[in-house]
Symmetry: C2
Subunit: 242 residues, 2 copies
DNA sequence: CGTGCTTTTGAATAGTATCAAGGCCGGTGG
DNA sequence: CCACCGGCCTTGATACTATTCAAAAGCACG
């Protein structure tokens, strides 16, 4: 976990929030930020831990989750390159969620004090960030609504499409639309608000219906459009930006 | 629906967001804002309508809801004096939700342009607002998590406590802790993500357990602490601020 | 080549939604 | 003032979805 900072101005993630700052501000951020590489399956921050700042994914795959009571963890969000994480905690004393890497990931961290200085001096930046929160709120409540109305099968399809939206397809075989992330049945269940057994059953059914192919944790979406049709009425799990 | 503006500086809702502005800015807002009195059971804005600004409840009771598919509407939020409504839509083209009065309500409206000017010139105001969104996001996801883990009975209890948190008890009989809002069984069901029949059944059970008394739509919480205990493990439906 | 974890599949169960019918109440008009 | 009407509430019976429990099979790893 060495500090491996590089210049924000050279970062390939142009959708990253920091890029909303005036360009002359970026080198100031370079001096303040702290970039670290995490191996797979490692926590970036913990639920109930003190919030010291906000994290940005330079590259990698991350799941954000919170611990249930007697039940399993609940995955709240998936995030990939350029996405922000930990913003749920910003303004609170403690993180309401944990974040862990699903693959090796490089994470940039900016502390509360530096952020506050940026917010106080860059109204457009702050405004953009506020609009992002507003959008996140809309998504969160749309999901809540759909979760309460969709069947478990529909929720599982939505979870698959959400994973695709966030991480895209594997680059190793460009023709096969294989989800570019390894999720256990339990993790998919957690996203879809159901059980691992139900996910297993449903994936088998979806395969028999020729909607997907599965080989272990590799899941291939044979016809994304048709899957979308199956849940079209509910809108889409969307993770297009940040 | 006549314009009945009065000075923000004299408003009794000190928790209203506008009060976060420097006091010399309030008269500027007075000139921009538009205050209207709505009768009971009237829409303030409609889902999918164009978003023109943000509303603040000077006094009254409001429900925010979105239409399901084939199912009934889903109540997303209850709001009372000093609370902000319509902020979910801010930054979007269209409202993701509708809002309707549960009682006669006086609503202040500020248009997008004026808000933008305020946001660009008052960093602390913008920051406070952003932190509010952040908090709303946390609440929304906490609720989503709990909804997926609680039983219908627990969700209904949570809905009752949420109504109490938002609107308090009726002032007509100070000793009886009667919820200060008339909600139909369907509306309670919508908050608790269940059916009207289930609410009816559960209220009967809660009454037999001496937790509540009900007389039509008047619901009296006999022992708020005990009700809280029943769902303690899940945290509280909280609507403390704005 | 075990060993332990994940996945699959089956069977039983529990929790809710759905459907249906009757009762209560408040409001309206005679 | 009373009777009627319609909407909301209550209650019961039924159906069904999804969770739980259990057991076997698959797989990855040392």
């Amino acid at each position: 976990m060495n500090k491996i900072n590089s210049a924000c101005a050279l970062c390939e993630n142009k959708n990253c929030f920091i890029q909303k700052l005036p360009s002359q501000r970026l080198s100031w951020v370079d001096a303040k930020k702290y970039t670290v590489c995490f191996p797979k399956d490692q926590n970036i921050f913990w639920e109930n831990a003190e919030v010291n700042g906000i994290h940005f994914i330079k590259n990698g795959k991350v799941k954000v989750f919170s611990s249930g009571l007697n039940k399993k963890d609940k995955v709240v969000r998936l995030a990939g390159d350029g996405h922000i994480i930990g913003h749920r905690g910003y303004g609170a004393e403690q993180y309401p969620v944990s974040a862990a890497t699903l693959s090796e990931s490089t994470i940039c961290f900016i502390d509360n004090g530096s952020l506050y200085e940026l917010f106080m001096t860059n109204p457009v930046f702050t405004y953009t960030m506020m609009m992002f929160y507003s959008q996140e709120l809309r998504k969160s409540e749309q999901r809540a609504k759909y979760n309460s109305q969709m069947s478990s099968k529909e929720r599982i399809i939505a979870a698959l499409l959400y994973a695709k939206e966030t991480f895209g397809y594997s680059q190793t075989d460009l023709n096969a639309q294989i989800l570019n992330v390894y999720l256990t049945r339990s993790e998919i269940a957690s996203i879809a608000d159901t059980t691992a057994e139900e996910v297993s059953r449903t994936l088998t059914i979806l395969e028999s219906e020729k909607h997907i192919l599965k080989k272990g944790r590799n899941i291939q979406l044979l016809n994304e459009k048709k899957l979308l049709d199956l849940i079209r009425d509910y809108g889409i799990y969307d993770n297009a930006d940040s």
